[in-house]
Symmetry: D3
Subunit: 69 residues, 6 copies
């Protein structure tokens, strides 16, 4: 009975893409470990860009610097 939490930045993932994530993760746990999808929970969290940091910076600022000269 796995529980999977997927955190992504909030940038327009559609319900269809989320459904693909849910199906893909459930299939993966069945294929690798034989876990029954009926008892696999998947929870997706979309995180606002200002709430996600990497490289010591909010993600937008981080991208700007990587893209910049």
């Amino acid at each position: 009975m796995p529980y999977v939490n997927i955190k992504i930045t909030r940038e327009g993932a559609t319900p269809e893409q989320k459904a693909r994530l849910i199906k893909g993760v459930s299939d993966l746990l069945y294929d690798v470990l034989g876990k029954d999808p009926a008892l696999t929970f998947v929870v997706i969290d979309e995180v606002a860009l200002e709430d996600w940091g990497v490289g010591g910076l909010p993600v937008e600022e981080h991208r700007r610097r990587r893209a910049g000269g």
Copy 2:
């Protein structure tokens, strides 16, 4: 000093119901383990239906199929 995280689908839980969850969990940790409620944190997350999967499907689709013929 327990920390409890409760994730439920977002389907209209009221502030009163949330207060009952907070009280109930805090009481339970006191009754079973003697934990001081003053140091018990409870955080409730309401998750949009499209962000919760079970049985390899978003929860609404999952319910539809179970209800269906």
Copy 3:
């Protein structure tokens, strides 16, 4: 289909006590929100004392200072 994560310090909770936590939380979610226990997951994490901090201190040091003169 709730998911509940309970974090407590590792201080000798028994399997029987954990079973009471699992039952208590599942009952609570049924009583307050009508959630089917068959789809309620509870995961308990026991955290070593050195890995839990409060008041800016590891929990054992924190307790010592509160108990101390």
Copy 4:
């Protein structure tokens, strides 16, 4: 830069199986959302059977009852 947490019961998953989960989830996030695997973290938690509950029971007891007459 997704972060994925996979919780499974501790029942002998091998390092090879874990590597397949890590690769599978990273590929999935790339395929569905174009996420760069270099910035996808996957953390697997194995949870002792006595620490996982479903149906209001620790998972072993839950399985016993489902299997039983």
Copy 5:
């Protein structure tokens, strides 16, 4: 490659304050453990007051009682 999740009550933290949290935590992990900030993720969750409990009460009610006579 640390992952840090900071949960705070939703009470008006600004993007600038969040950026300071992200930088501060990343610096701390570098200073204490030598962790490369490029591989340190920080995710901030703001939690509505009605969704956070302490002392067996939603946080607003808890504050009111502590402040009250």
Copy 6:
């Protein structure tokens, strides 16, 4: 009343280093947001190397490839 969860790979962090993380995070939340350290919880999780993935690989394999020719 913040709650902070720090996940790091299990590679020998000492109790002293963990105490510095706990103090540093609690100080940071006080400095930036005025949060009372008495109500700041910090939980540190050390994750086995085989349970942490990045770049689609378990972290040790990932490091080997980055270091390798």
